[in-house]
């Protein structure tokens, strides 16, 4: 019986939703492998999270409560994780499939002779090994992936693939890490962090509902309407490439084959024709609503509910209707 590690992704001292979802996934796996689940927190504010992580099934919390963890590029996190994997003997590590953490996983895999599977939407255990579900080619093919015998198993979990559940456990036991960094680890430093989130809207990758706007909005002001709709639904706001290329909305909200992948419970696309490149980033959404003037737009072929009409007429009415029904 060993330990299954979960690298906690956190912001402002709080674990992100995905971290709690990962703990639930880890507990499902651990019940089959006979492991216990340990969380790893790199960066400041670890001890404040022992309670919530424990409630979601972490028995232990390896904590490196140091500004160095995030003050340099990638390597300090890699070296801390390598240390935890080696001392705990853990064979499996779960991580959040986000931009910067994928780099941590990649470098760690080289160091510990592991395999990496990113963006897993499901995990099972067969022959003592993780079998992950992963969609490729923009969701067109659904694959099962596993690891070669004897390799460390480093698995990136997608947002919303699991529902976070409390296990009734008490606070996780905090084990403080003492990490001495190599010279290489401090060679590339972070000189500034620019937060550009200006609202309390959820990020599109995490949100249960995503409202997206495209070329059909016609201008930048169209996104104010999208934001109004999003705020009625507690949704995140995304954009098609045409809209981000036009400078109407920031690039990091771009959904598509060269942007981000979203897989919410509900996706509402307005003024988006649904070119294959956009569909590759959203077609795995559970429910798809399309509002577009052009009845021939390809997005209607994957829409669960489509309105052929002027979004500037339909969306304001929809906002009114939704507000009225919410009472």
């Amino acid at each position: 019986m060993g330990e299954l590690l979960v690298l906690i992704d956190h912001a402002e001292g709080q674990p992100r939703k995905l971290s709690l979802q990962m703990l639930t996934a880890a507990n499902q796996v651990a019940s089959q492998t006979g492991d216990t689940v340990s969380a790893v927190w790199l960066g400041e504010g670890a001890s404040g999270a022992a309670d919530v992580l424990g409630r979601h099934g972490a028995t232990k919390l390896y904590a490196w409560d140091s500004p160095d963890a995030l003050g340099y590029v990638t390597l300090p996190q890699v070296e801390a994780l390598q240390q935890v994997m080696e001392t705990s003997g853990a064979e499996i590590l779960f991580f959040a499939s986000t931009n910067l953490i994928k780099d941590v996983a990649a470098r760690l895999a080289i160091r510990v002779d592991g395999g990496v599977i990113t963006d897993a939407t499901g995990v099972e255990v067969a022959d003592g090994r993780i079998v992950a579900t992963k969609e490729i080619f923009g969701g067109e093919l659904i694959t099962k992936c596993t690891f070669a015998d004897g390799r460390k198993q480093i698995v990136g979990i997608s947002n919303n693939a699991f529902a976070a559940e409390e296990t009734g456990g008490g606070a996780a036991e905090v084990v403080n890490l003492d990490v001495s960094l190599s010279e290489a680890a401090t060679a590339a430093k972070v000189t500034n962090v620019e937060k550009q989130v200006t609202s309390d809207r959820p990020d599109i990758a995490e949100a249960a509902v995503v409202v997206a706007g495209g070329r059909g909005l016609g201008d930048e002001q169209g996104f104010e309407l999208m934001e109004q709709l999003a705020d009625v639904l507690g949704a995140g706001v995304g954009a098609s490439r045409a809209a981000t290329d036009a400078g109407w909305y920031p690039h990091r909200y771009q959904i598509g084959q060269t942007g981000r992948t979203v897989s919410p419970m509900l996706y509402i696309g307005s003024g988006i024709s649904g070119a294959i490149q956009h569909r590759a980033g959203m077609q795995t959404s559970q429910n798809i609503i399309a509002i577009n003037k052009d009845g021939e737009a390809p997005i209607f072929s994957i829409a669960d509910f489509g309105i052929v009409g002027d979004l500037y007429t339909v969306v304001p009415k929809l906002i009114e209707e939704l507000q009225a029904r919410k009472g």
């Binding site: 912001a11 590029v73 990638t74 931009n99 910067l100 780099d103 990649a106 080289i110 395999g115 990496v116 599977i117 963006d119 969609e135 490729i136 080619f137 923009g138 969701g139 067109e140 093919l141 659904i142 694959t143 099962k144 992936c145 690891f147 070669a148 390799r151 060679a187 590339a188 430093k189 500034n192 962090v193 620019e194 937060k195 990020d203 690039h251 771009q254 084959q257 060269t258 942007g259 992948t261 509900l266 490149q277 590759a280 077609q283 609503i289 209607f300 829409a303 669960d304 309105i307 052929v308 009409g309 002027d310 007429t313 339909v314 304001p316 009415k317 929809l318 209707e321 939704l322 029904r325």
Partner: protein
């Protein structure tokens, strides 16, 4: 200054895709392959360094002989030369195996900067650039939405879910770019013609000193065991608005029935 741009051949997003049921790799028979769209941005950034700093720019591709048109396409944007790693031993490599092969190829090259795309549009794993950097013992400044080279220093704005981090390191370094970084140009007719005769060095695993017991499908750390096509969606409800916005109420009803309201 020397810059290397690794590029990838991927199936066209608009085309049909299949996995060979026997070896679980991408079945390239009868499908259209293209230069990965993200590489247009990494190539553009390299061409800009050529223009602004007189950088010498080389393209690097790992793939079979049939991938040569992709190398020529990359050259047509104005890059100087190319190296293609072609060896049956690397076929079916996973992301880590791919990184090992690319790193081995880079060990044979002189460079100050390697510019990857942040992902390839097929499996979108995103792990290759950082894994290559790890093998070579170099910094990985990935997801660049802005890149500046100043002497022996590189400054990158790394895009993430909440904004960006400004990071810096000395060269040599490995970077990857997101498409927000620039507006790629189209290859000129002159560029396309010139690409046909630019130097292309085809090398085997042995040529680059790659240990073939570390790469290829048989040595992959992670493997695909099963695949299926996403089941086709059933047709949904499509309504036409008469210009009054009355369909909004129908949509709200539908959303309510699905408990989104």
């Amino acid at each position: 200054m020397k810059v290397i741009v690794p590029v990838k051949r991927v199936p066209d997003t608009a085309g049909e895709k299949n996995i060979d049921p026997n070896d679980k790799t991408v079945d390239r028979d009868g499908i259209e392959s293209v230069l990965c769209p993200i590489n247009e941005f990494s190539i553009e950034e390299a061409v800009r360094l050529k223009e602004s700093q007189g950088a010498e720019v080389k393209v690097l591709l790992m793939g079979p002989e049939s991938a040569q048109p992709i190398v020529r396409k990359a050259l047509s944007y104005g890059l100087d030369s190319a190296v293609q790693i072609t060896d049956d031993a690397v076929a079916g490599s996973d992301a880590i195996g791919t990184a090992k092969a690319i790193a081995a190829a880079l060990k044979n090259e002189e460079f100050d900067l390697v510019i990857f795309g942040n992902q390839a549009t097929d499996a979108r794993t995103c792990v290759v650039p950082a894994a290559v950097a790890e093998i070579l013992g170099l910094p990985s400044l990935t997801y660049a939405r802005h890149l500046e080279v100043d002497g022996d220093k590189v400054v990158v704005h790394r895009e993430h879910e909440e904004g960006y981090d400004v990071v810096e390191s000395t060269l040599p370094a490995i970077v990857s770019v997101v498409e927000a970084i620039n507006e790629p140009r189209y290859p000129s007719f002159k560029g396309i013609m010139a690409a046909k005769s630019k130097p292309l060095d085809v090398k085997s695993a042995a040529d680059i000193g790659l240990d073939t017991s570390e790469v290829g499908m048989a040595n992959a750390n992670a493997v695909i065991t099963e695949f299926e096509h996403r089941p086709p969606k059933e047709a949904g409800t499509i309504v036409e608005d008469d210009g009054s916005g009355a369909t909004a109420a129908q949509l709200a009803d539908w959303m309510q029935s699905k408990k989104f309201v």
